[in-house]
Symmetry: C2
Subunit: 307 residues, 2 copies
């Protein structure tokens, strides 16, 4: 285990921020934690839960003396946060984030990073559909990947230190460019959320099928989409506004493929359907083999006997 | 508890057929079970597992003396199965099925049902992504809905008997027309499977993003779609071939909504995105309140510490 940071400043105490706090308490990574949240209510709950050693309504105050600063706000709020702290960032501090988009973070946060600090954008591919300071837990990052996208010219030592920080939580770490990150995540995360949100919107607008029927008979597949679609709306609005090009590119490909499937259904082309459906099993097997999902049927959801 | 059936003939011993067998053993519903499967290998495994009291390579043999006959084959195979048994169905027997489409079952099975039998199409809204005789378990139907779509003129007594059979497994039962069933399920099950299959196909065809990246970074949402997309290809081919009108209708609505979302992303319309994303949480809450999914974050999948 490498040296822990002296003081980690967590700016934003929602699902990811609070989980980082729990993970530091459980597995190490920093000797003390300072916490900041924009909302008074979040700060109050965070204090009650002991998510940090000191709490600050001012982000600039929170980062004083911190050698690790983690922006845990929605992507669209990180630029303002970086601007707010620019004058109190300690020399040699690492500034990182956890946002689902990296190009926009480089664009919005980059200009506010003082020359004496190291800027290493990051993204732990982990989460749940819940949000807020009460939703965090220490194991969230275990066996998940964390992607770092250091800008050109970043020194290897701070990257190694941040890598060790994430590995301490049980994460794997991969380095890539911000641009490539945004393309990969557009496919593995942003598009799935978009079509899940869209399915739920489609179901909500039907006339012939009632809301109550959609709910009752959701176990045929729909309920899984509603879980994804119940993620934090602010966070996801910011993702789509800030990864527009890559999301539209993936959406275009999705729509093209869908037209092929639609045509196969219309023309009764069972062979095309069967072949496409068969291929899908391969990727699932790969995901289970890579430890990125459970092999248990239905994700291990246990059926319960009615009372 | 009402009277159990004397003999249930289960024709097809995959996920649903084998689960019905386990459920009968665990909760009652029939005094004996006869089993039939088209494949020799399935029959062999079913015999090894003791899924029935007698096993038959011939469906016509299996239904002899049965007062309950359950077709558990893919929708496209049920017509031929009904034809194969028409001469050996006992007077007063109930013929039902478990297919995900009901209009096509009425169309294909109906003409082969002898006048002295009762035909009550059915559909338990339950399943996992697994298939085959080893995938069944007795609790599969607990707290799930089973839809029955009796044709006009069906007597109330056999419907009540079949209802009691499913309730004995812990299911709720709802009666509706085959046409309405096919519309509801097109939304809550067929469309979700179609877009899940389509997402996986889209991911498989990318050039800039490798298969290995798609797998590694799938925890951001994609992995959930791969579970749905690993369901039995034959079963799902038959669903789409046999519920074409309703699926194309729902797909048309889905595509329309998607165009609205796409436009909002392209034009940076955060308000439209936020409002739509917020609405989606309501339906999720309804599903959890109705006991149709777990409230546990991430479906309760437990993160595991790396070895």
């Amino acid at each position: 285990m490498s040296q822990p940071f002296e003081k980690a400043a967590i700016l934003g105490l929602g699902l990811i921020g609070s989980s980082i706090s729990h993970a530091i308490r459980a597995y190490g990574g920093a000797k003390t934690i300072s916490g900041h949240a924009r909302s008074v209510e979040t700060l109050r709950v965070a204090t009650e839960l002991g998510l940090a050693d000191s709490f600050h309504a001012s982000a600039a105050e929170a980062v004083k003396g911190a050698d690790l600063i983690i922006l845990c706000a929605p992507v669209g709020a990180c630029g303002a946060l970086a601007e707010a702290i620019r004058d109190t960032v300690a020399p040699g501090a690492i500034i990182t984030d956890v946002g689902s988009v990296k190009g926009a973070i480089v664009r919005d946060v980059g200009p506010h990073v003082p020359k004496h600090a190291h800027f290493i954008p990051g993204h732990p591919i982990a989460g749940t559909e819940q949000s807020g300071p009460r939703s965090g837990f220490p194991e969230l990052f275990q066996n998940r990947w964390c992607i770092l996208t250091p800008v050109e010219g970043t020194l290897p030592e701070p990257v190694a230190a941040l890598e060790a920080f994430w590995r301490g939580f049980g994460s794997n770490v991969e380095i890539m460019t911000a641009e490539h990150h945004d393309l990969v995540l557009a496919m593995t995360s942003h598009l799935p959320h978009l079509i899940a949100y869209n399915s739920v919107a489609t179901a909500a607008d039907l006339e012939e099928v009632t809301q109550s029927e959609v709910i009752k008979f959701s176990a045929g597949g729909f309920r899984d989409l509603t879980r994804i679609a119940s993620s934090d709306p602010t966070m996801w609005r910011d993702v789509f506004l800030n990864n527009r090009e890559a999301v539209l590119e993936m959406l275009g490909r999705f729509t093209e493929e869908l037209a092929v499937l639609q045509r196969a259904i219309r023309w009764g082309d069972g062979e095309t359907l069967f072949n496409l459906f068969t291929r899908a099993r391969e990727i699932r097997r790969g995901i289970i083999a890579a430890g990125q999902d459970t092999a248990a049927p239905n994700f291990g959801r246990t059926p319960e006997r009615k009372p």
